[in-house]
Symmetry: C2
Subunit: 245 residues, 2 copies
DNA sequence: GTTGGCTAAATTGTTAACATAATAGCCAAC
DNA sequence: GTTGGCTATTATGTTAACAATTTAGCCAAC
């Protein structure tokens, strides 16, 4: 018998059933995406078993496609599979969470550099707009919205860099989203610090100064690493090592 | 009819048929590895079509496993798949090659930093040994062996860092091996410069100076980027845009 | 009460067959 | 000689069935 039934509790259908009809991409890429979002979005709990039949029904497809999707997600490190024992959601350890943010630090430093080199005036204006939003939520004390806009800001800079490889690698890290398990932005004083750092980054990019853009971005994420470490030490990591199947 | 028959010309069986019997990992990971090595090793030409049936026979398995293996490799960016049109080996563009080395630069900078922090005395001795080898091949003019030892040196530093995430990301980049398509080490003067830079890196790590280790590693790979750019501009990229299926 | 093995259920692994789409070859018309 | 459409072939997409393995439940023996 199954150890838990959360996949059922996730309910009904998962995201859009198909949408795109005649896309050139293969279908299982789409299935993988939907599964990825379901997992990172918290539809499945860490360590929860992923039964191929259930997933096939949930995604509205067959086991073969689920299988290839799971292979992709295992490649990404989002799920683990063992021979004859199936797949389960991977639990991100504390050490790994730190490493993820560290890797983000250097990669996003690279994108900040290229954003400073490649950004158009319109894009910089867009960035300023997002920055204003961020400031607004900070002053209003809406930390959860702050976190969301924060993500969008970083994504925008990555897009502005036009560095496909860095974008891809960062995307893989994002999928193993740490911010879902650890809410380090909630740490006292972190938001204020974060806001100032973002201002510095924006200024460097607007000034088309690649060197400073990279440095400020790295500094920002290095501080994020430190904040994460404090959260971990204080033991506030969300459901970590609590439910170990 | 098939457009080319190189998969047959690759001949017989591909690497070890199985080897490990009761491994905990799922089998298709192994198939993916063997395919990966075959592609990066040059068994298949860039842009060559990969027919599922042929691969299944070649790997000694069924189409389902080949399919999941291909999904993995597509995830890695080593092959491309289009709906109803199958998979083919991905050709690495000039821009992408540069981006790969740039990403390596920042990620290996990170590993150099942690290598300086975490390396044992034995490992530093090992590094010195590799360095001696490198010097030997340089003085003897064996540039191909130099390139091989060069790879080993970098791998060793990555291992010494104990940074699993950086290692994983770098591994993905390595699989899209640029050095196979472009032999930038053959560029005039590059080897000499490379040798000195490696010495700097080693000294920084041996001195347990993380800051300098990162800087020297980045400088080294930034120079590698420049060398690659020169090779590309001079049009010496190996079989690039020559045979486009 | 715990340990041991045995049986049944559940889940994954593998294979084959069929359906569908793309490609190549061919023939006729201009 | 070239273009256009038709047909046969090839390769992929999908599904189902069966085999092998693990897991859970159960009963008896100590």
């Amino acid at each position: 018998m199954r150890e838990s039934d959360h996949s059922k509790s996730a309910g009904g259908r998962l995201l859009s059933p198909a949408g795109r009809a005649n896309d050139r991409r293969v279908a299982d890429e789409d299935y993988a995406s939907r599964l990825r979002e379901a997992i990172t979005g918290g539809q499945f709990l860490p360590n929860e078993r992923l039964i191929e039949n259930d997933l096939a029904e949930l995604l509205g497809t067959n086991r073969a496609n689920v299988r290839t999707a799971l292979a992709r997600l295992e490649q990404e490190g989002l799920v683990v599979r063992e021979r004859n024992r199936g797949a389960h959601v991977r639990l991100i350890s504390h050490e790994e969470a730190i490493e993820i943010v560290e890797a983000r630090a250097v990669l996003e430093g690279l994108t900040a550099r290229y954003a400073a080199l490649n950004a158009t005036d319109e894009e910089i204006a867009e960035l300023r707009g997002i920055m204003q939003e961020l400031k607004g939520y900070y002053e209003a004390g809406g930390l959860l919205q702050y976190a969301n806009v924060n993500v969008r800001l970083h994504q925008t800079i990555v897009r502005m860099s036009r560095h496909a490889m860095a974008a891809k690698l960062i995307g893989m890290l994002k999928s193993q989203s740490v911010s879902f398990q650890y809410r380090s932005i909630l740490a006292p004083g972190r938001a204020e610090c974060s806001l100032k750092e973002h201002t510095d980054i924006l200024e460097a990019i607007a000034a088309r100064d690649p060197e400073r853009a990279e440095q400020t971005m790295r500094a920002h994420l290095d501080h994020a690493v430190e904040a994460l470490c404090r959260v971990i030490e204080s033991g506030h990591g969300t459901w970590h090592h609590r439910r170990t199947g």
